[in-house]
């Protein structure tokens, strides 16, 4: 078993931390996992992505060039990763930020207006958690929603306890929306 996931968007959108939470949740479940950022000289505003691998055996390559799961936060990342996504893969994207339309018929697309929803819930900062919640729906054979919530609380709960409850709501919301769309 090997799950390969790409999270991609602008720096500052919570792309990196979403990947770290998933990876941490997988580690707590006893899986082998890696989190690898693409890094550049810019600290904020540039494009950023990270790759998360989850497996029941040691992970050889921490890189994927044909991701099965894509969580996409902006147009440039949509353009970059849609052609790379593995046939039959899951392609989750934030329709609040992305004007691109799906072009392939061999992917499962989950479009969520995550930024708007997060604003309605109280803070745009929860956008990444809505998308991570949606992804979690498709990864239940490795991590449950509760596992991801626990990892989020451990990762973010100490520094920003006030955001933890909102983030939990966001994860649950994303999970429900993915469940509805996947039907």
């Amino acid at each position: 078993m090997l799950k390969d996931v790409i999270f991609a968007g602008f720096g500052g959108q919570g792309v990196m931390v979403a990947g770290q939470i998933l990876s941490k949740a997988a580690m707590e479940k006893g899986y082998y996992t890696t989190w690898l950022p693409s890094y550049g000289p810019e600290q904020r505003g540039g494009t950023a992505n990270c790759t998360v691998m989850i497996s029941d055996e040691p992970i050889a390559s921490p890189l994927t060039h044909e991701p099965t799961y894509c969580v996409i936060f902006n147009n440039p990342s949509f353009q970059k990763f849609e052609p790379m996504a593995r046939k039959g893969g899951i392609f989750i994207y934030n329709t609040s930020m992305i004007t691109e339309k799906p072009k392939r018929d061999d992917l499962t697309y989950i479009g969520i207006a995550a930024t708007e929803l997060a604003e309605e819930m109280g803070s745009v900062k929860a956008t990444n958690m809505i998308l991570l919640g949606a992804l979690t729906y498709f990864l239940q054979d490795v991590v449950s929603l509760d596992d991801v919530i626990a990892a989020m609380r451990e990762k973010l709960g100490k520094k920003k306890p006030e955001l933890a409850d909102l983030n939990e709501q966001a994860l649950r919301k994303g999970f429900e929306l993915a469940k509805e769309q996947a039907k």
Binding site: L36, P37, Y39, A60
Partner: protein
């Protein structure tokens, strides 16, 4: 101790050094090695250690040179351009037989290059880099866990042989987060101060110690060089490390040689090729100096094709050819310069191409 923690590579390397008994870190910021200095700046004061941000890599490397001569575990970390600046101290430390540990997260070059993972400083690490006849111990782990596991060995062997131990990894190891387990926690007070250390005469029986790389008499300097090379011979005999991955059969279609990040990625290619029925294996040097040449030669008897995959333009392959030293083998090279990381697919395609007879 013993539990798994999810950590960034650079931080885990720092923690590994602390748990190896290192309490002195002298550094200078450079991408992609800066988090290691940042971690040490945060961690060392908690355990009674000292972190100093030097004014340059030249100074940082000369600080570990001083601290090593004083008989204490000391470390610095940098990336390619910074390591170039450290070559002065590295050469002097070899001459003066001063132990220390340097972590080199190699990035694409030459010059300022880029900040992506690379192996293009192989020659610099294993063939010298600085002036004079000398060797450094060079370790090239391919995963973070392996890097953490061998960290105490770097300090211990540096002091055992009185020479520099360098770990070459890259930004992929430094920036990646992975679960790591620390299986050791060495008390620095349990590490004996060597009798050659500069610590004040009263620490070593009232006779002065002098640490120098200067010897103006050519006959004496020649004798010193012979002595160094006797030591290096001992290191060669005792310290070669490698991994043979999927090389059990007596006949192998293609043997791939790679180290570090490239080797880690190639394991995926080997698995995929094996699933398709190809008898492919990986020979992975863990020490780049001393190079596991005898072992490589032995494994090469099993195959006609030796494919070297390196994130550089044909540096590792020189040692591969010298080790096997057989003109009847077919040597193939996949060079990845500039900070490009191989993909399993590319390596798989290359192996299939070789076996179809299409590749030279």
């Amino acid at each position: 101790m013993g539990e798994k923690v999810f950590m960034k590579g650079n931080e885990a390397l720092g923690e590994a050094a602390v748990r190896s008994g290192c309490r002195l870190f002298f550094g200078y910021p450079i991408t992609p090695a800066s988090e290691l200095a940042e971690y040490m700046a945060y961690r060392l004061p908690q355990v009674g250690g000292v972190f100093i941000q030097a004014e340059s890599e030249v100074a940082a490397s000369n600080m570990i040179y001083g601290a090593g001569a004083a008989g204490k575990y000391a470390m610095t970390a940098s990336s390619s351009p910074g390591i170039s600046l450290m070559q002065e101290a590295i050469s002097y430390m070899a001459g003066a037989e001063v132990p220390a540990v340097i972590i080199n997260l190699i990035r694409g070059g030459p010059g300022l290059g880029d900040i992506q993972p690379a192996q293009s400083d192989y020659f610099q690490a294993v063939k010298g880099g600085g002036h004079g006849d000398y060797r450094n111990l060079v370790y090239a782990p391919s995963t973070l866990q392996e890097a953490v596991d061998i960290m105490p060995l770097l300090f211990q062997n540096a002091f055992k042989y009185r020479m520099l131990a360098m770990m070459v990894v890259d930004g992929l190891v430094g920036q990646m987060m992975e679960a790591v387990e620390f299986k050791y926690d060495i008390d620095p007070d349990s590490i004996p101060v060597p009798d050659w250390a500069l610590s004040g005469k009263k620490m070593h029986g009232g006779t002065k110690n002098v640490n120098t790389s200067l010897e103006l008499d050519p006959n004496k300097l020649a004798a010193h060089n012979f002595k160094l090379f006797e030591k290096y011979q001992k290191v060669y005999e005792n310290e070669r490390m490698f991994e043979a991955f999927e090389l059990e059969e007596s006949d192998i279609d293609v043997m791939i040689v790679a180290y570090g990040t490239a080797a880690r990625i190639i394991k995926t290619a080997v698995k995929n090729l094996r699933a398709k029925g190809y008898k492919v294996g990986l020979f992975r040097p863990i020490t780049l100096w001393p190079f596991p040449d005898k072992e490589l030669k032995e494994y090469a008897q099993k195959t006609e094709h030796v494919l070297t995959v390196e994130m550089s333009m044909g540096q590792l392959i020189e040692d591969v050819k010298l080790s096997i030293f057989d003109p009847n083998k077919k040597y193939h090279l996949m060079p990845y310069p500039g900070g490009i990381v191989p993909t399993p697919k590319e390596v798989e395609d290359k192996v299939i191409e070789i076996l179809k007879g299409g590749a030279k």
